[in-house]
Structure formats: C-alpha cells, structure tokens
Symmetry: C2
Subunit: 370 residues, 2 copies
C-alpha cells in the first residue's frame, strides 16, 4: 500500500550540505528543492503544464493573497488550490505573516487576537489569528502549512526581535493545536531572531519543544546583506533538527541558495525567476543577463544553450530584446519559463553534486556568478 | 521534385462558398483560411509552438510595425521574419497602408512619393513609397506580399474614394514592377471603392489588368455595419477572378467570416482572437462570453468542452475569472490561445461543411451566434 504520510529522509551529505527526499501523498520532493511562487494560484506568466516540464515538484501559495482573492469560499468549492489551478503535485502555503508585514496598509499585532490589518486591495479590516491562518491553509488544502508568525522588518532592535519571538512562539503553539493530528500534511515552525545567534537559537529551541514537521528560517531576505544572511545561517542551521526539512523562506538568487545549501538548508522559495522574467532578466550558467540591453539587439544566440524547454532556445537574444522593447507579453513568458527551468536545473546540479561528493567544486564555480 | 511555386487550386463549392488549397514553398494553406495577426513578429501572448498546435497554416505580419520596430536591418540578419520569430510556415505581410491610415499621427498621400507620415512611436518622418513597401516586404521574406494602397477611412464621399482608387491603382502597378518575377512568392492586389459597387468593380478591373496572384478586399472592417459589408461583398466578390485566392482584410468575427465565405471569400486576418483574449472575451460554439463577468465566479465548467488544446479545458471559468480580476497574465495566455484555436476549429468546420455540401446548415446554425 502506498504510504500517504508526510516524511523526510536524508540520503547523502557533502560537507554540511544535505541530499534528501520529502514524501507526501501528492508526490516526492527531492531536496535541496526550489519552490516557484504561485502567489494568486498561478506562477505568473507560466502555464501550469510548463511548470511541470521544468521538473518543479512543489510550489508555494500565499495565504494572505488567496484569502483576499478569490477568497477561501471559492477555493473550497474545488477542495483546495490543486484543483483550482490544476497543479496536482505538492503545495506549501505560507501563513500570511510576511505579507501582512510587507503589503498591508495598516497593521497591529495583538498577541491574543492575531494580526489586525487592512487589505491592500480594498482597505477592508481583516483579523488573522493563528487559528484562522491554519483554518484557511486547511481550506486551501495545502500539503505543507506554515505557522503564523510575527515577522518584523529588518531591525537591530533586540527588544523588538525578542517580543516577536515571544508572540511567534505563542502563535506557533496555537497553530499546532489548530493543525491537530494529520499525518498526511505537515506543519512547519518559523524561527525568528533577526541576525542574532542567541535569539535565533532561543526561538528555535522553543519551536523544537512544541515539535514541528519541519523548521523554517523566517525574517531573512528582508534587505540584509548576503554576508549577514550567510553568517547567521552558518551560526544556526546546525542547531536545526537533522531529521526534519530545513526551509529558508523567500530566498533567493542562485548564489543565495548555493550558500544556504552549503550550511545545510533543504528548501527555498522566491519570486525572482518570474519577477526577473517580467523585467527582462535571465539567469544563465554564465550569470545573470539583462536582455533589454542594446548589446543584445543583434545577438543571434539563444539565452542559454544548455537549457532547453519548449523550444525556448530557438529564440535569439535579438528577438527577445525586440519583444521586451515592444512590451510584448511573450518576452515575459519566455524569460519567466526559462528562469524557472534554470532554477530547477541549478537545483538538480546541486543535488547531483551532493550525491557525487563534488558539491564544493560546484559551489566554488558558481557562488560568485550571480 | 517538390513544386516550390505559389499556386491556388479550387477543390469544391457549396453555393458560392469555396474550398481551396494554396501551395507555397513553406507549406499548404487550406482555404477558407484564418490568419492570426503577428503584428510585431509575435502572436500576442501565445508561444509560436502553440500557434502551430491550433492548426494555423499562415500568419500575418505588419510591414508598418516591423519597419519601425525592430527595423528591417535586424530582420534581414535572420533572412526574414520566419527565422526571427521561429515560425517556418507561410507568412503574409500587409503593405503598411492600413496602419498609416489608422495609427500614424500625421500623413500626407503624395501619389509620386508615396505615403508621408510620422511614426506613432517616436514621431520620426517616414516616407513609404510603393517600391519601398515591396522592398521591405522582400526583406521580411514573406510568402504573400500586399501592394501598398491608399486606404481611406470610412466615407461616403465618392470623389475621395475615386481618388484613392486612382492612387492605389498607380501604386499597384509600381508594386508589381518592384515585385518582379518570383514564382515562389505571391503579390496580391487590393480593391478599394468603399461601399459602392461601381467603384469596387472599377478598382477590381484595373487590378485585373495589371494581374495579381490574389485579390484582396481592402477598406472594409473600418467601422461599417456588418450588413453593409455583406451587401458590398454580395455585389462584388463574384467579379473577382475565380482561379485566384480572395482575401477579405482585417475581418473579423466568426459570423463576419461565415457570411463572407458564403459570398466566396477564401482568406481572413484579424486581431480579435488575441485582442479579445486580453480583455477576457472567449469565443465558443455557444457564442461569445465575457469571463470577467461575476456570473462566472463560481462556474466550475471549462470555457468550451469541445475545444481542447494544451489542457486549457482543465481550467474552469471560475479560475479564469479569478485570474482576470487579479490582472494575471495567465488569463490572457489561456483565452488568447483558446480563441485562436477556436477560430481555427471554426474554419475547419467551415471547410468540412463545404466539402460535404452542408455549408448552408452550418451557416444557418452559426451566423447569428456571434
């Protein structure tokens, strides 16, 4: 009989980097894994069939966005996001915490009530409690749910960070209770603590006491330098449970991911491949290129000869440059799909190199390319 | 040996409607044929591979747009539009006449010089002579070229229309000379004369004297009523040479095409499938629907069960409604591809019905649906 339970298995190491496998009832996720972001139940500008072709095994959906548009009532009629958007593989949903910090026009954190904020669409007042966040994520029927956390903006204020940990820990407990027992799904805790090792470890230890199926680093990729992010990862990832997936939220560039993998991170999500795609930026094995630049006006070579999906590499840089300058949608479609494919190829090579024990060579070759 | 010459063969009739076949060195075109419009060397919002999947056998490119962006110099480096945009099947290019009328900020028609106008992009003064239009179309390497015509806006002014015929006839001669002898390509003449039978026939007879590979009705679909268009078609199509393709430019809705086929037209082009696609309008066998409407918010059925391409019919109207309301690009991508596919399915059914002698039944069923 097929095992429908959520589980994580470590397969190999290369230094601190880990090769693993997450099993879910909707399919396997090879780690280190990159999750394209499907904010509003669509990976912007990419057909879901094409997302599959890139080898993507899990995508991310945004609770905050989906609760506002189209609203859970509609998604419930489809028994979740999978059927609504036609993506039958695993989905991870965030809790809404990060978007409340970054998008909503007004917010107040009330430990008991939850996050009180105004919708960025119509200004309507919304209260998101830890319980409500989990209820919504259950309605979305995601496979991996995230606890609601208080995600402060980038700050060096230890009091503010400590307070966020206190609230986030309390909310994490309440999320765990609301989540209940469900072996087919997973609930991940989110570590806060800014760039301070002691705070991070404090937050982590409190979450470990509650007990989660995976642990995420939150509150990074919020404007700090890459070196600062790498430093706090190097100081803290090792304290995260070895037998659970480790997820670095909202990260990042290929080199961000490469660095994080070297410290033992297993999962990533980021809007970069599609957001860059819409502005003409393409990721390649030679680095990032801006296809809007006039240097590409007469360049008949494809974006990236090594990466081919849906004949995208039949298109020349010259043609794509023309499409960008003409505001043609096809430019975004080509580059977004290419970028997601590149990200997945990049993760595939990371996984291969961990398996072969050649991760360090791969790391040295690409850490400064992006 | 493969015959590379342009040729047209009539295969069947049903009433005045004609089933035919155009042969070109880049492939066959079954007629009645619909040509999606690739204004700037892209069918807006649709991958060229997907255009092929719809059964499209020929597309249209716009000389006016392409001469401005990216300019012929770049397209010449690719030996034409086919390689530039990765579409290896036939391409028809218009002459620029219609866009000069509808888009350019300032224009003066000088019989000797040509059309003198300002670019709608940067206001730069451009002179397009008949010779230059053909030279550009040769650079674009299109398979069917159109003569440069003076295309007046909708008017009842017979003097104005007569003058346009005089200029257009002169330019048609000059285009023919510039085109020279090239059996692998075709040059089509364009009939003017507004809604007046006598003027249309005068224009047509003058073009027949010059001799073209096909004949197009120009100056229609410029704001007149469908009945007026059908009336002038009914009065004049019969005078067009029987052994040459007959092309109605810039038309139209499915019912426009159905009516025109009933008078003996063979070819159409229109931006409607993609332009409608970007505003949420989908064509179906039950008629046109606006997927932005709130009635579709909870509608779990697909756009059109009969039409399936790239799994588009896995998407519910409810999901597409959500995408439209969220300004997600995927909405335009889905509906544009669907609409082109629907148009091609519609033409396929027209061709089948002419072959079976059941065109009149098909006509009665669909003439008032759109």
């Amino acid at each position: 009989m097929k095992n429908l339970n959520f589980s994580f298995e470590l397969l190999a190491h290369s230094g601190k980097s880990r090769l693993g496998k997450i099993s879910t009832k909707r399919g396997l996720i090879n780690t280190p894994a990159f999750m394209p972001v499907g904010t509003l139940a669509t990976i912007k500008g990419v057909f879901v069939d094409d997302v599959k072709l890139t080898g993507t095994e899990i995508i991310l959906g945004n609770t905050y966005h989906l609760m506002i548009r189209p609203g859970t009532e509609i998604i419930e009629k489809f028994n979740g996001i999978h059927n609504f958007m036609n993506w039958q593989k695993p989905i991870l949903t965030d809790s809404g915490g990060y978007q409340i910090m970054s998008l909503s026009k007004f917010r107040k954190i009330d430990k008991d009530l939850g996050a009180v904020f105004k919708s960025h669409i119509d200004g309507k007042k919304i209260i998101l409690s830890p319980e409500k966040s989990i209820k919504i994520q259950k309605s979305l029927n995601s496979d991996i749910l995230m606890v609601l956390d208080e995600c402060p903006s980038l700050t060096k204020d230890k009091n503010k960070l400590s307070e966020a940990i206190e609230i986030s820990t309390d909310w994490a407990k309440r999320c765990k209770i609301e989540f209940g027992n469900n072996n087919e799904k997973a609930l991940f805790g989110i570590i806060q603590g800014g760039l301070y090792k002691d705070l991070r470890i404090e937050s982590l230890e409190k979450l470990k006491e509650i007990g989660f199926d995976g642990y995420a680093m939150g509150g990074l990729a919020v404007g700090e330098k890459q070196d600062d992010m790498f430093k706090i990862l190097s100081e803290t990832v090792n304290y995260m449970p070895k037998n659970k997936p480790r997820y670095l939220m909202g990260v990042g560039t290929p080199s961000d991911m490469l660095g994080a993998v070297s410290y033992g991170i297993d999962m990533f999500d980021c809007v970069l491949p599609t957001r860059s795609g819409r502005t003409g930026l393409a990721y390649t094995w030679e680095g990032k290129i801006n296809l809007r630049n006039s240097e590409f006006k007469n360049d008949k070579s494809p974006i990236d000869e090594k990466s081919n999906i849906r004949n995208i590499n039949l298109y020349s840089k010259s043609y794509i440059n023309h499409l960008i300058r003409s505001d043609e949608m096809l430019a975004s479609m080509i580059i977004s799909l290419h970028n997601i494919n590149f990200y997945q190829q990049f993760m595939l090579e990371i996984r291969k190199s961990i398996k072969n024990g050649s991760f360090n060579d791969f790391y040295q070759k690409y850490i400064n390319k992006f």
